[in-house]
């Protein structure tokens, strides 16, 4: 057998790169979260737990809670909007599937910022919707469609729904269709077959999609920034603010560590929950 050793070494540059520019910076954030902020926004190398104690302030609890609620709602709406679309695509002929998938993925590739801004043109007070309604004489004063939590949620779902469609489509594609035929033979209605077979069998796609959407929305600051105005502060905006305006890097780091731990914990719980119910079904 030929010696594979030189080939194996080819991974070294990439691994060193990720070590230096991904692992190391993440560790730095962790260290920074236990340090103090100096009077002029510099970092003072002195151990403290104050940053974490400060997070217990109800103010931040509220922001974390708001972020969590928005992320959960975004995920739920993405499932509701994304599942039927994924289902439709999976039922098309092969060649059409490819085209539809590409059509769903293209908006996902277009910049978040640009896509949120497109909604600003539509929803702002002199925007497309208000202009049309006013010229039709339906309203006299522009409606406040933008810069509220509804517009933030709309923007989040709009930008993240392709994340949901793709994994659900993949799991629908991999599903054994013969089970549906068997169910139909045994007298199940299409709804019963969908509810008892298709949905449980595509749970992994829903889980993957939910994690992608949830994690993306929890750290999002662009959509709330552009579509929420000053009123909506999600944790991503607060962290960004601590780093760039307040210049409190240690506190910003602590916030982001908590954010990361919380999202990891939720993902873990979600995995557990879906795994447990899957094994239960397997045993039944």
């Amino acid at each position: 057998m030929l010696n594979k050793k030189p080939v194996k070494l080819l991974a070294l540059p990439a691994l060193l790169w990720l070590g230096a520019l991904f692992v190391l910076p993440m560790l730095l954030i962790a260290v920074l979260s236990f340090l103090k902020r100096g009077t002029y926004g510099q970092v003072v190398y002195e151990f403290t737990l104050n940053n974490y104690i400060r997070i217990l302030d109800p103010l931040y609890g509220q922001i974390f809670w708001d972020t969590f609620v928005v992320a959960v709602l975004t995920t739920v709406f993405s499932i509701l909007f994304g599942y039927p679309l994924a289902y439709y695509i999976s039922r098309l002929e092969r060649s059409k599937q490819q085209i539809w998938l590409l059509l769903v993925m293209i908006p996902f590739w277009i910049n978040f910022l640009v896509r949120s801004y497109a909604w600003v043109i539509i929803l702002r007070s002199q925007g497309v919707v208000n202009t049309v309604l006013q010229s039709l004489g339906i309203i006299t004063e522009p409606l406040p469609l933008l810069y509220n939590s509804g517009s933030v949620l709309l923007g989040m779902v709009y930008t993240l729904v392709p994340f949901m469609v793709l994994p659900i489509y993949v799991s629908l594609e991999q599903m054994d269709r013969r089970k549906l035929e068997a169910a139909a033979d045994l007298g199940a209605t299409p709804w019963q077959a969908f509810w008892h077979i298709t949905l449980p069998m595509t749970k992994s796609g829903v889980v993957t999609g939910s994690i992608l959407v949830f994690v993306s929305s929890i750290g999002m600051f662009v959509v709330p920034d552009v579509m929420g105005g000053a009123k909506s502060a999600l944790i991503g905006n607060v962290i960004q603010n601590q780093f760039l305006s307040a210049r409190d890097w240690p506190f910003g780091s602590a916030l982001s560590i908590v954010l990361m731990l919380l999202s990891m914990l939720l993902i873990l719980l979600y995995f557990r929950a879906t795994k447990a119910s899957e094994t239960k079904e397997g045993a039944a």
């Binding site: 080819l10 439709y88 590409l102 982001s256």
Partner: protein
């Protein structure tokens, strides 16, 4: 499936496409609107595009975006391809660990990577600018390159490489004359994808760009924050068009890729 059910589903799916594309289409349409402030259509014009080309800041941002995009994609592709080739030969255990390291940057919130890099660069007193942007862009796009190329390598099978070695090719000879040509479409797709990611990135660039290294998305952000002007529409339209073209080209290469798998 009953016809009415199929019609409802297909009608719904078309509505979803409208939902996904309408805002983008309206944005693009309004980049040709003569009116400066109102959403009322007051005539077709190219003037916002012309004023973009005369705007030195925009041209500088474009030049920055292209320099950073090309440099970081070349680096990410070279590093990512080499790593994918190597990882294929790893034991299951070490491959699992390495794959974890590769997938982590993809799943972690972008804001985290942005500020982690900002902290790193400030700790080693590195001035924020094009270089820090390139370093950051390689870091977030290399994992995507590796995912694409590893998938290609996994599908390829071992037969051709083994045949080459049976015929007396050295490992490097096999790599150069058999493996690399076979995965070339994947490499091109990976390069194009990392270029698209770089051209489009806002969040991470937001943290690691210096005052003199504004990229196109960062420039757009500045315009959006200052208030709506039709120039933003024109610039956004150009960014959308180039992203879509790049994605389609990358997709064509990836398809070419999967065609060669099934022979």
């Amino acid at each position: 499936m009953k016809t009415w059910r199929r019609h409802t589903l297909s009608g719904y799916s078309w509505l979803m496409l409208v939902f996904l594309y309408l805002p983008i289409a309206i944005l693009m349409l309004y980049s040709f609107n003569d009116s400066r402030i109102n959403a009322v259509w007051s005539g077709f014009t190219w003037k916002w595009y012309l004023s973009l080309f005369e705007n030195r800041q925009v041209m500088q941002a474009l030049a920055n975006s292209l320099t950073i995009g090309v440099t970081s994609s070349i680096l990410a592709t070279v590093l990512g391809t080499a790593a994918s080739l190597a990882i294929k030969h790893y034991s299951l255990r070490s491959r699992t660990i390495v794959n974890g390291l590769i997938y982590l940057p993809i799943v972690i919130p972008e804001i985290m990577m942005g500020l982690a890099l900002l902290v790193l660069f400030s700790q080693i007193h590195m001035e924020l600018g094009k270089l820090t942007l390139i370093l950051a862009h390689v870091t977030f796009s290399m994992p995507y390159v590796m995912v694409i190329i590893s998938a290609r390598l996994a599908d390829m099978g071992k037969e051709l490489e083994e045949a080459a070695q049976d015929l007396g090719a050295t490992p490097w000879g096999t790599l150069r004359h058999v493996t690399l040509p076979l995965i070339m479409p994947g490499i091109v797709a990976g390069f194009l994808m990392s270029f698209t990611l770089s051209l489009d990135d806002f969040i991470i660039s937001f943290f690691v760009a210096g005052p003199n290294s504004t990229t196109l998305p960062l420039y757009i952000y500045g315009l959006v924050k200052r208030g709506v002007s039709p120039e933003v529409n024109a610039l956004s339209t150009l960014l959308i068009v180039s992203t879509v073209l790049l994605v389609i080209i990358a997709e064509l290469f990836r398809r070419k890729d999967s065609k060669t798998i099934t022979f």
